[in-house]
Every structure is written in C-alpha cells, then in structure tokens.
C-alpha cells in the first residue's frame, strides 16, 4: 500500500505530459527550432517553482511526510561526463522526440514503435555500464 501514492503521482505525470503535448515529437522539434514558447514556458515555470520548493527544503520549513529533513544530494560533476553525456542525450532527444519520461507515457497512448526506443534506451544504459571505466568523466 505504501506504493500507491507513487502510482497516483505517476498517473498525474502521464496526464500532464499528454495533455500539454510534451510527449509529441513535434513539440520537441519546435522547441529546438525556437518556433514556440511552449516548452520553454513549461520548463522555465517548473524550475522557478522548483527553486521555491528547494528554498523551503533548505530552510527546513518543509519536511517529508515522516518528518525527515529533505536534503537534495548534488549530482556528480565532471566536465566530460556532463557535457559529452548531455550532448549525446540531446542528439537522441531531438531524434526520438522523447526523453525517458515521455517514452513510457507514449506506451499508454498506444504507440507501439516507442517500444523500440525504450529497448534502445535500456540497451544504451547497459552499454554505458559496460564501458563506463573506459570513457572520460
């Protein structure tokens, strides 16, 4: 039962991704062509409000439902890791028109071919694990 809340938040995620057309390949293309404000508005407003959340967490004004302090662990820094990994991700994002969240939402939409993309992404994660000691971070 403790997992049901994550299922419900996931449903909300799937609905907002679909209804705001974030899972449409066209919206991603349009964003990279700078021909619409839509995606910039979504990411920008989410980040602005996210900063306010982080402020409340840092000031300990908001704790988890169990009363624990919320510490947001910083991501690993590495010029090669972040920049090269980021560029490779961006190439795939603009080609598939979907990042790892929208891929799953598109399954719910009944898009069969997205399963190939998900298989590829899982394979990509596996290949990263296989080669991570040989590539720069």
């Amino acid at each position: 039962m403790k997992y049901i809340k994550f299922f419900i938040i996931g449903i909300l995620f799937g609905i907002v991704m679909s209804k705001a057309e974030i899972i449409s390949w066209y919206r991603i293309y349009e964003m990279f062509k700078f021909q619409s404000f839509h995606m910039y508005g979504i990411i920008g407003s989410a980040v602005m409000l996210g900063m306010i959340s982080m402020f409340f967490f840092r000031k300990k004004l908001v704790k988890t439902f169990e009363g624990n302090e919320i510490h947001v662990k910083p991501k690993k820094l590495g010029m090669y890791r972040n920049l090269l990994g980021g560029i490779l991700f961006g190439l795939g994002w603009a080609l598939a028109g979907a990042c790892p969240g929208p891929m799953f939402v598109l399954v719910g939409k009944g898009v069969v071919s997205i399963l190939v993309v998900i298989f590829g992404a899982t394979l990509g994660a596996f290949l990263y694990g296989l080669s991570k000691d040989k590539i720069p971070h």
Binding site: F6, F7, I9, G10, I11, L12, F13, G14, V16, M17, S24, W25, Y26, Y29, E30, K33, Q35, F37, Y40, I42, G44, A46, V47, G50, M51, M54, V62, I70, K76, R81, N82, L83, L84, G85, G86, L88, G90, L91, W93, L95, A98, C99, P100, G101, V105, L106, V107, G108, K109, V112, V116, V117, F119, G120, A121, L123, A125, F126, L130, I135
Partner: protein, 185 residues
C-alpha cells in the same frame, strides 16, 4: 470539462510538474526517470556481466510504480480526455518539416515518418528508433540524469553539473534538429 479536454497551456503544465517534483520529495524520493533504465538492466540480470548493475533494485521499486502510473496516465489522457489528436503548430514549423520530408505535421500527434508501424518494420525506420533510444539511454546515464533529474530538479537546486548537462542537451538537440534531421528523411 472543456478546460481539461483542450490542450493544456504551459502555465498549467509547468506548475503541475513542479508539484510532482515536490510530492516526490515530500514522500522521501527524488524525481528522475532515466535511472529506471538502469533498474531494468539490473532486473534483467546485467549484474552478471557488469558490477555496476549489481544493485538492490528493490529500493527503486517506487520509481517503477511511478512509471506504471505514467503509462496509465498516458492511456487516460489519450482515450478519455483528448477529443482530438491534432497538435497546433506554428505554420513555419509545418513548412520547415515539409521541406525536410515530414508531411502533414501536426495533423496527428506523432509523425508517421518516424513512428508508424510500417516505418518501424523497415530497416531504416527500425534503426532510427533504436539508435535514438541508445543515444538517450547512454547519454542520460553518462551525464547522470535526463530532463527530469537535471533540467527540472538540478536546475531548481542551482547545481553546476545540471547546468552543464542542460547546455549539452541543447547543443545535441540543436545539432540533430538543424543539421542531421534534414539529411535523414
């Protein structure tokens, strides 16, 4: 009901995404979709080949449940909350896509030139989908996160690794959109 069935504006979607991030923190977890790909590898037995995948994936179970919910959410939104599948695009975008070989942009939710069953079953179409996926999966794990973990959570938390990664996302996305896509179709 009309405010639900019409496409949602950015100023609705952005705050809802921020709320999702907040709720996941409130429930003691962290918003990040691409780590599920590693969990799939671990469940599939990748730990037998690479130690990196020898993790106790059960700690990520909440995220798999979240993924299952997002599939159901996609189903609900598509079948019950969306009377039309058309995407209203900038006429310039429609023209630009026609010029590179993607016809009737916006009349359906996704371009048939990439996502139709016929395309998927062609050799070229299959490899485009597969390679796109590999780049997303490899790139996200190399960078340590994707749009959710870096662009939403990381930027909100003013983290340098996330800023560099998001700049990378855009460099890659711009190169694909402006230079490579015109050559593919």
């Amino acid at each position: 009901m009309e405010f639900i069935t019409q496409p949602w504006a950015w100023y609705v979607a952005g705050p809802v995404i921020a709320l999702i991030m907040f709720l996941l923190f409130y429930f003691g977890e962290r918003f990040g979709m691409s780590s599920n790909l590693e969990t799939f590898c671990s469940i599939g037995g990748a730990g037998k080949f690479v130690d990196y995948f020898k993790i106790d994936w059960k700690q990520n179970k909440w995220n798999l449940i979240f993924v299952a919910g997002s599939v159901v959410g996609g189903f609900i939104a598509s079948y019950w909350l969306s009377p039309s599948d058309a995407v209203m695009l900038n006429p310039q975008t429609v023209q630009d896509l026609a010029d590179i070989g993607i016809a009737n942009a916006g009349q359906t939710y996704l371009p048939d030139e990439i996502f139709s069953i016929d395309t998927m079953l062609s050799l070229k179409g299959f490899f485009i989908l597969l390679i796109a996926g590999i780049m997303v999966g490899f790139g996200a794990r190399w960078a340590g996160g994707c749009t959710s973990g870096h662009a939403i959570v990381g930027l909100s938390n003013l983290e340098l690794p996330s800023l560099i990664s998001v700049i990378g996302f855009f460099v890659g996305g711009l190169v694909m959109t402006w230079l490579i896509l015109p050559l593919i179709f």
